[in-house]
Symmetry: C2
Subunit: 199 residues, 2 copies
């Protein structure tokens, strides 16, 4: 069975929400999840959109919708003072970890989301990334080094380009057997798609 492709941006609250549910959904259908951070900002060059928190009218709405969504899911949430960040270092380090062990990379991703949206820590800061890595049993100093490595930068650029080439433009963006689903509000449809094989 194909893995479920889970595209997200570490700086996206809706990506965070999906990250708290996607593995549980996949488990119920004996599927694995391939976590794939990328930078939504790079897709915005094509779409012409701005982040919702900076778009007139949308900004007022997401300040209501995002915390309300968090309360509905029952997940810890705050809008970090540093929000939004460009989460390149976290994303690069993620793919470096993934080349060694996908499980560790996944734990690092969940830890990063939790640090940012659960605890309000600034995940663009090296000291925070180091702590998150350490907490996953990864050598934090080596993690930071890897996140600056030109080879790892190249690897992440490749992953990012690949996402865009597949038509990924939002966070979360989930692909099940070639079928795309955009948004944390599509998770129920994702689950139904897995249960029924599509409709």
């Amino acid at each position: 069975m194909n893995s479920i492709e889970f595209y997200f941006d570490f700086s996206s609250p809706y990506g965070y929400f999906a990250s708290t549910r996607i593995d549980g959904i996949a488990d119920r259908y004996r599927r694995s999840v391939d976590w794939r951070p990328y930078l939504v900002g790079t897709a915005m060059k094509a779409t012409g959109h701005q982040p919702m928190f900076r778009t007139p009218m949308f900004d007022d709405y997401v300040r209501i919708d995002v915390p309300r969504f968090a309360r509905l899911l029952g997940v810890p949430f705050q809008l970090p003072e540093s929000f939004p960040v460009v989460a390149s270092a976290a994303s690069r380090g993620f793919y470096w970890l993934k080349e060694q062990d996908a499980g560790t990379a996944r734990r690092f991703a969940a830890g990063t989301f939790h640090a940012f949206f659960g605890e309000g820590r600034d995940i663009s800061r090296p000291d925070e990334l180091r702590r998150i890595a350490d907490d996953c049993g990864v050598d934090g100093a080596r993690f930071l080094e890897a996140a600056r490595d030109p080879e790892v930068k190249r690897l992440f650029k490749e992953k990012n380009d690949e996402a865009l080439a597949k038509g990924v433009f939002g966070s979360p963006f989930i692909v099940v057997d070639g079928e795309p689903f955009w948004g944390a509000d599509r998770l129920d449809q994702v689950e139904k798609w897995l249960a029924t094989g599509g409709w």
Copy 2:
């Protein structure tokens, strides 16, 4: 109890989807629905967005998501050849009808959505609007006259400005006791909000 404010654009497929469910949801909580067509295009001047069907990357996605959503709901759907239209005449006529009888206006709105997305008829054409009005027991010729009346134009402009001033920018956009919900994918949250009084 306040009515549920249901803002939509007749040219929006997601607005159509919501229109097939909103009254049923409201009924279960003994609420009424105040149908309020407006032109999303006027909000786009503030948001800087383009219609999704004309936005790179989003366009490929909505061509999959929209028919898939229709199949999930089990509602008749096609993307009309004339899509998208500027649905000013239908919206103006709606508010003229509403001043006389809200129930007739609601039937006209449901008929308009069905004609457009269910049958693919061009709802920007006077002859189609006339048929839709006739089918609701309204004098179609008078309807067309009203839709051209400067007083009715002024009334619709007022309603449209009022929506924008309230922060409405999408379709559907639903307000329950001051709480805004954007998107056909928020209907389950709307229902839960009505059931629980909020969370």
